[in-house]
């Protein structure tokens, strides 16, 4: 992918907010002292009077955002995934989820690709936490093009949304000219017949790379991009599972409660299919360069390929 642009979805988030800000003045952006890292600093620079920093106080971040949303406007609330979904879980559940308010949570630095900061900041549990909240939409965009579309869709949706963005720059593999995004609608990125790889976030590009390598070894892998974990596009998942008879889920998240679990929930109910869940295997992360960590935890193209081959044989 020598010519491929590399962009972190957190950067896409910051830039999309600026674009959205030019079109609408009925939303504000809030952060908890991480504006430079979450990239909401871009919005702050463009619209200083529409940006509020609550300081290092994530519970209050969610509550203030909820209060703003009661007035019929929209609040984007940003911090790291660890603090948005983890520390402020109960505020998100009770002050945002239960009253179904228009707070759009922009959670960055999700997963182990946070890198050197280590386990305290590598949130591998946020998808699981957020998808248990009734009425919460959970989205994990796979590249820059998709992330920008997610921000716009979140703004337009009536209800709370959890958007999961990454710190690490990833390949931009969607073509903005032809890409079409619809919340809750999965995308078959590559067709295949032997196995279905269902992925989200950074793992979509890695899965496409793995599928390419698998093809050279005679395995035809279908790659389904499930950017919206909730509501899950069961139809697309089931259709692909019916076709291939084998499903591998791949996510930069714990194998407990995330994309893999959501896919298993759907398949076990209406299309029982053997599933291999690839993700962080119920362990904490550790410090190290992001790419090295992804490789160590089997969350790169080589790791995914190995899992698929082992599963099929």
């Amino acid at each position: 992918m020598a010519d491929t642009k590399m962009i972190a979805t957190r950067q896409s988030y910051g830039e999309a907010l600026v674009e959205l800000g030019a079109e609408h003045d009925d939303f504000v952006v809030l952060d908890a002292d991480l504006a430079a890292a979450t990239q909401t600093g871009k919005f702050k620079a463009a619209y200083p009077d529409r940006f509020f920093d609550v300081g290092i106080a994530e519970g209050n971040l969610m509550g203030v955002s909820a209060g703003i949303a009661t007035t019929g406007r929209v609040a984007f609330a940003s911090t790291f995934a660890m603090f948005a979904a983890g520390r402020a879980f109960e505020q998100v559940r009770n002050s945002i989820g239960y009253p179904h308010l228009n707070v759009k949570i922009g959670a960055t630095h999700a997963g182990i690709s946070v890198g050197e900061d280590g386990a305290t900041h590598q949130c591998n549990e946020d998808i699981a936490l957020m998808r248990t909240i009734p009425g919460m939409t959970v989205v994990v965009p796979s590249d820059d093009v998709e992330a920008r579309a997610v921000v716009r869709a979140a703004y337009e949706l009536d209800g709370p949304v959890y958007m999961r963005f990454g710190r690490l720059a990833g390949p931009v593999f969607h073509d903005p000219a032809s890409y079409e995004f619809e919340l809750g609608k999965g995308i078959v990125e590559r067709e295949g017949t032997d196995v279905t790889i269902v992925a989200c976030g950074l793992m979509v590009a890695a899965s496409l790379e793995a599928a390419e390598a698998l093809a050279e070894r005679g395995v035809s892998a279908e790659v389904v991009n499930i950017h919206t974990i909730k509501p899950l596009d069961e139809k697309t998942v089931i259709a692909s599972a019916r076709k291939t008879g084998r499903v591998v889920t791949v996510e930069e998240h714990s194998v407990i409660g995330g994309l893999g679990s959501a896919v298993c929930d759907a398949l076990s109910a209406s299309c029982p299919t053997p599933v291999r869940k690839v993700g962080v295997r119920d362990v904490f992360g550790e410090s190290g360069p992001a790419l090295d960590l992804l490789a160590k935890y089997g969350l790169d193209a080589r790791g995914i390929q190995a899992e698929v081959e082992e599963f099929l044989h």
Binding site: G59, N60, Q91, N94
Partner: protein
């Protein structure tokens, strides 16, 4: 509205609190009764609200951060005409719009979903911030318990409100001195409450008798006139106020009266 009229309404609110918790066989009468004059004054004198249009954009907002005192809020909203007083007998029943803790999407007149302590005040701050940002003229009121302010989030919210000079925000601390495990001094005292809010850049109004309408009238007038900082009314009240056997008894924090106690309490209120 004169004090006599307000007192009459407050008596009906108290009866509604007892009727609701008695019918539910659970709920929180103690802190609802201590705050009855505060509820009554806000909804019948201080705030601009319209029972015919509960979500009117220009209305003043009220957030019951101590959400367990929902029986007091519901009884007041019913008296104010947001829904029939008969609904109070459905409190905490399956299918009722009167949940154990307030939910803005269930009950007409409830401006924010609360119940998990410390969270309502952040939402109130968000409402006040939104008014400043979009140029709305409404004011936001938020009632906190003196036990509730042990929650750290209260001080996150207070710090932000003080720093943003939200003079359209008025917090009220119902300082009845009791929480579930005992007196606030025994458990983990937040005293000095007034000094703490002053340190967070609030204009503090101390009310020695928060069950007295004259004192509440003066306090809310002072808060309304305060510019450049949010206000906090620290109201010393009596938990269980108005029912002899409930007054200052920690056991009545979260317990409903049985049939006999209900009859006695209602009789006392009739005679008052």
């Amino acid at each position: 509205m004169g004090n006599d009229e307000l007192k009459t309404i407050a008596r009906e609110v108290r009866k509604g609190i007892l009727t609701g918790t008695h019918a539910a066989k659970s709920g929180h009468p103690g802190g609802s009764l201590s705050a009855t004059e505060i509820f009554t004054y806000l909804y019948f004198e201080e705030m601009d609200v319209d029972p015919a249009d509960p979500r009117k954009a220009s209305r003043d907002r009220f957030v019951l951060s101590k959400g367990h005192c929902a029986p007091g809020l519901y009884a007041t909203l019913a008296q104010r005409g947001f829904f029939p007083t008969g609904d109070l007998e459905t409190l905490r029943h399956i299918g009722s719009h009167l949940q154990g803790h307030p939910n803005m999407n269930d009950t007409p007149g409830v401006d924010m979903t609360t119940g998990s302590l410390g969270q309502g005040v952040s939402a109130a701050v968000g409402m006040a911030l939104a008014a400043k940002h979009w140029g709305d003229s409404y004011r936001t009121y938020c009632l906190l318990g003196d036990g509730e302010i042990e929650e750290g989030q209260v001080w996150e919210a207070a710090m932000f409100a003080g720093n943003h000079q939200l003079d359209n925000l008025c917090l009220i601390v119902d300082n009845n001195g009791l929480q579930i495990d005992g007196t606030i001094e025994e458990v983990n005292s937040a005293q000095p409450i007034a000094d703490k809010f002053r340190a967070f850049n609030f204009h503090v109004v101390e009310v020695s008798d928060g069950n007295d309408f004259d004192q509440l009238r003066a306090a809310f007038a002072e808060a309304r006139q305060t510019k450049g900082s949010p206000s906090c009314v620290v109201a010393h009240t009596v938990k269980g106020k108005g029912v002899s056997f409930m007054e200052n008894q920690v056991g009545w924090h979260g317990k409903a009266p049985n049939d006999e106690q209900y009859a006695q309490a209602m009789a006392e209120l009739e005679e008052a």
